[in-house]
Structures are given as C-alpha cells and as structure tokens.
Amino acid sequence: MNKRMLLLVPILLLGACSSYYQQLGRAPDNYKDTLKLDDPELNTQISLRSVQQHRAGELLAVQLVVHNDTYLSHKYRYRLEWLDASGLEIAPESTGWLPVTLEGNQDYTIEGTAPSAAARKFRLEFGAQ
C-alpha cells in the first residue's frame, strides 16, 4: 500500500507543475480561435457573443461582446493580443491586463485598435482576477 502511495507522488507533482492552463473558449463559428481562457472553469462562465472588425485608416479595429453565462458576478482580467501576418504577437509587453467585473448574464463590449498597421489577427485572452 505504501509503495503504491509512493508511486502516486511523482504523478501528483507532475500534475501540480502543469497547473497553468489555456484553452479556447466558446465563440462564433468564424472566430473559433479568438477567445483564449486561462482557467478551465471559465469555459462554463464566459463566451464570446459577437465580433466586429473594420479598418480605421491603416489600423485594424475590433469590437467584441463577451457574455457572463452565470447568474453571479465575477471579477476577470482580459487583454487583446495582436498578431502579424506570420502569427507573431505584436508588442506583447505593451498590452497590459485590464480588470472587469461582469454581473450575472451581463454582456460586455470590449473595443480595441491594433498597435500598428502590421496587425492582421487578434485574440482575446480572459482570466480570473
């Protein structure tokens, strides 16, 4: 019995090491890879309802609506990631996490403008505060 317990220790330790989690969240069909979640629990709480994008001069501008699918108020943090044509993130250190509190069943609109004309794609990253 003790030997079995000893075998479990490294497995549990490995599990603890891989606790940082990221997965894609629920989003409209054309934007399946747009919402990134830092916590598996958020997939039952947050969903991306709609995405609008247009060119503001040379820059890509987006408007995203996220929805709190629960009846409770939650504190989140989010950031917009901007990717160039090669899929590399543009100015990752200049896009800080922003706080938001979503009430139960609330829609919340997030607007953003690309930091440079090189941006071709975007992703919204959501995490618990």
Partner: protein
C-alpha cells in the same frame, strides 16, 4: 513528554522564523494591481489603452494620416487636479509611446532643446568636430498639434468604505487654428470596503 513538547515548540519556531524571512521576486508588470485605491499601474494601463485606441481609431486620425502623412505632435503637461501625488507625465509617456509605435504620429520634445543646442554648438563650432557631418541649425520640425489634458478625482469615505473616482481627459489641439480636433476621456471608479472581520 516534556522534551518532545519542547522539541515540537522549537521546530514550530524554526519553521515560523524561516517563513518570516523577506523574499524578493519578480512579478508581471502588466498584471492587474489592486493593492489599494490609490492611482496605480492598472489605472495607467486603462487610461493609456482607452485613449490611445480612441485617438488611433478616430476619423480625424484617418483624415490627417491619409496618403502616408505622419503629423508632428508636441506633448504638453497634464494637470493633476486630484489630491493625490500622481506622475501624470508617466501617463502621457505611455500614450506617446503607443502613438509613436503605431507609426501614424511623430513627436517633438521641447524639453530637450538645451541639450540639442549644446550638441549642435559642439558639432558646428568645436574644432574637434568634422564640419562635413555637422547638422546645421534651423532645421528642426515644428509641431502641428499639441496633446494635453487633465486628471480629476473625487474621493469619498464613509466609515470603512471608500469610493475613488478618476477622470482623465485628453485633447489634441491644432496649433495653427487653435481648434480642438479630438478629445476623449476615461473614467475609473474604485471602491474599498472592509470585510466582516476587518480583513
């Protein structure tokens, strides 16, 4: 029995002492900061990202940057009308960094005029300098627009709860016409309330 109790006490003290040691670690400079209700790094990010996005996506920016034009902007001070000591230059620095990195705007910095003059004097009149590579006087570009604004705040306290409100207003003024061509503001509200057991 007494010896084992003493040993346990000493062990607990040693563990407690070790855990009380000071530790230094690096954190994520971009993470959400909620240490207290004072103006903090997250407020700076909120203001800078909202106002930069607003200016870059405005029809006015699209109009004046059409055909590759890059307007020249001078950043004036942002007056701090709150009761708090806030480095407003840090906010305008972040905004001007984002605008410059967008490739749509260029900036001049009049605060460095004395240093520039000293360097040009050296290049143009010091026997050590190669006159062929000297930059001549009178070629600096003048700003077309001035970026300025103000930060206001209202702080209310009642018992153990506190409500802090900040409003940052930013304007872009055409130096030729004196017209304000763009203006936007960002509001932030932060509340603090003490828990049931004063935590």
């Amino acid at each position: 029995m007494k010896r084992s109790a003493l040993a346990l006490t000493l062990l607990a003290l040693a563990v407690g002492g070790l855990s009380a040691c000071t530790t230094v670690k690096y954190g994520d400079a971009q993470s959400v900061e909620t240490v207290n209700t004072d103006f903090g790094s997250t407020d700076l990010h909120l203001i800078a990202s909202k106002l930069t996005d607003s200016l870059l996506a405005s029809p006015f920016t699209a109009q004046i940057t059409a055909n590759g034009a890059r307007p020249v902007v001078y950043v004036n001070t942002v007056s701090n009308k709150t009761d708090e000591h806030i480095d407003t230059e840090s906010i305008t620095d972040t905004i001007s960094t984002k605008l410059l990195q967008s490739g749509l705007y260029r900036f001049v910095d009049p605060t460095q005029v004395n240093a520039v003059r000293a360097q040009l004097n050296f290049q143009n009149s010091d026997p050590l300098a190669d006159a062929g590579t000297a930059i001549h006087f009178g070629q600096m570009t003048g700003a077309q627009y001035m970026l300025y604004g103000n930060l206001a705040g209202i702080d209310k306290q009642s018992g153990d709860s506190q409500d802090v409100y900040y409003k940052f207003t930013l304007r872009l003024l055409d130096l030729k016409t004196g017209l304000i061509d763009w203006q936007d503001e960002k509001e932030i509200r932060k509340t603090k309330s003490r828990g049931l057991f004063g935590m």
